[in-house]
Symmetry: C2
Subunit: 235 residues, 2 copies
């Protein structure tokens, strides 16, 4: 008998965009884990805060955040061990994930370490993709259109290729790559079809045209959506 590991999508930032299923699992699980930066507050913990009852054991998974680098594997090894310790004692463990666990979520590093050893349940969440489109008021894709999800850190040549080949593109994790992404969008003549959003669905949500953005103040949680007009019909 072991506990169950839950990977819980808790949505893009607005605490009201959590699902009933995530709420139920948070309430019944004795151990709650969440990623956090080296110093400071966990965003995932902050999103779920209104829904976490007192009396839980919490695992604050501190991840060194170095721009351009990902946390080392031994960081995930260490927290996988800590979570295993509870699961082996037949205690359920919930890992809170911003957005959706399997869309650029760090939960997947725990999933590959633990899901072959313990019962594991992944609960999908509202992703920042839908939240960003809703914030901007731009329908992303319809009918037989394609959508490409592209991380901002890609190099310029690959960005040009990928942005040029889809009807709709979401450039995620823009952050310090804003100027590069803008150069690509300008070069492709797509400036008028591009929309910027930061902190979608959060209380500090901002939506701007690209030329209104201060390139030096673009946070990691920012996105540029590009939607080309289609000939022949209005969507």
């Amino acid at each position: 008998m072991t506990g169950t590991l839950y990977g819980l999508g808790i949505g893009p930032g607005d605490p009201e965009l959590i699902t009933l299923k995530a709420l139920r699992i948070i309430e019944k699980t004795p151990i709650i884990a969440y990623p956090a930066p080296d110093v400071g507050e966990s965003l995932a913990r902050a999103i779920a805060a209104p829904h976490i009852p007192p009396g839980k054991t919490e695992i604050n998974m501190r991840m060194p955040m170095i721009p351009g680098q990902f946390p080392a594997h031994n960081v995930y090894d260490r927290y996988a061990d800590e979570i295993s310790f509870h699961l082996r004692k037949n205690l359920d463990v919930t890992v809170l994930c911003e957005g959706d666990p399997f869309l650029y979520g760090s939960f997947m590093y725990l999933f590959i370490r633990l899901s072959n050893k313990f019962p594991t349940c992944v609960v999908p969440g509202v992703s920042s993709l839908g939240a960003s489109a809703a914030a901007i008021g731009v329908p992303l894709v319809s009918r037989n259109e394609t959508l490409s999800i592209v991380p901002g850190p890609l190099d310029e040549i690959e960005l040009i290729d990928r942005i040029n080949s889809s009807q709709a593109v979401a450039v995620m994790k823009v952050g310090r790559h804003f100027k590069k992404v803008c150069r690509v969008i300008n070069r492709l003549g797509l400036n008028q079809y591009a929309h910027y959003v930061e902190h979608a669905s959060m209380s500090n949500q901002i939506t701007l045209n690209l030329d209104q953005v201060d390139a030096n103040k673009v946070p990691y949680f920012s996105m540029i959506l590009i939607r080309r007009p289609k000939e022949g019909h209005d969507l």
Copy 2:
């Protein structure tokens, strides 16, 4: 003074994957609209059913469903008129949308007709993308990987090109295009990395390998996820 139009993502099928925000808006809105096929039940209405209190005025938006065709513009014109009638009387109207309203949702046809005339609020929902990945147990994208979302009805040449050029691909609306999509996946040698799911998160959810699927019984709400292995690391 007019009412507000709400486009509400109600998630991929499991009624528990609805958000607190969607629940609150359903409860306070007197008029609830939803798309439905020509004959039979509305899936969106069925998903939200446990959460719709009695006493609402309901607008059953019947859409002729002809394989390979989309509803004609005059169908949306007609329901936009019906919804406008209530909004002008200062009544709020909620439109229920499966998944996320701006990801292949038919709500966008009402949005382009009404959002310039009435206050409009779009509430993102859990999409079938995250639900399908969770069902299969396959993390979709991590780090600097790209994800392409591709509709099954695309022609074979375009499918080959798009599936071949991304680390991860979600082929949506597979339905009667299953054999064609499989030919493409086989040709690209990706069979072992492809996963099939139908009715993700619903009580009749099924996940299969491609060679287990009966090609003649693939429903519209089905998806194939493809995730190539990456050289050099395990995710």
